[in-house]
Amino acid sequence: MELDDLKHAYQHAGAEPKNTEAIRNMLNAGSHPVLRRIRIQLIIEISLWSVFLIAFYNIFDGHQKPVAVNALLALTVVLVLIHSILGYKLTAHQVEGTSLTESLMNYGKRISRYGRVAIITRVAAILSLMIYFTSTIEFTTQKMLMLGGMLLIIPVQVFMLRKIWNKRADSIRAAYESVAG
């Protein structure tokens, strides 16, 4: 069986055609399977951080802490939210280039960059929270040891995030290499 003979079979293959209305619904981000999940996650994240941003000053005695510490925490929360929104946009716009290899290469670079920023924002968020809650504490040896223990969260988070983002970037790199040959 020659491959050229199979061209006809391939060209006439298909599936149950979808009607125009079904396709029209697919143009909305709300019906996109991955974007829908990210959007729900984003809404929850934004809501929780917004509540935190509004309430932290009163609930956690912001008036007793230095202005710079309050500002640092607020700024970090805003950065975390901006970063999450950029993640949504990254998934929504995968095509960027005039050929498949160019587009995959650009997307891989964007994912790597986004992954690096994800690690930086996560570390900044942890440090800001720790600075905020320890800014008015009088440190004893025991408290210092506890803080040291809590700081161990950072390398664990860095390790986990690096693993996740490297895996994603590697899969795009593999796809690029497979196409480029």
Binding site: Y10, G14, I23, P33, S99, S103, Y107, V179
Partner: protein
Amino acid sequence: MKDEFLERISANQALIHKVCRIYRNTREDREDLFQEIVYQLWKSYAQFRGEAKFSTWMYRISLNTALASFRKPTFIYDRNATVPDRSDHPEGDDREERLFDAIKMLEDGDKALIALYLEDMSYTEMADILGITENNVGVRINRIKKKIKQYLTR
């Protein structure tokens, strides 16, 4: 613009189905990929200037989405999940089925190349879509043909 886009996508949707069939193994994954492709096509439609054929442009975006989007690890090969537009000729069905089975065993990049080849695209068109040289296209097509032939004659 939206209506014009929908009309063109509806007319060429078999192309998307074929890409989904090549790159995903279960009906659910194929449905998800179909939606992702349509969404990316719509997002990129403003950049389509008509310099290439619409189907050529569609293939580039569809393959891009299939390769770049997140894939859930699946272990089930749902061979009968998508029922193609079958002719009444049972041999034709089997031939099509076997062809897709053969394509699926290839590497992702080679799947893209053979899909374009089977659509009767020229080496120049294939090279433009993939962003590789025509020489690279020629060498790889010959290699893929051999692999598929081996699989089909097993």
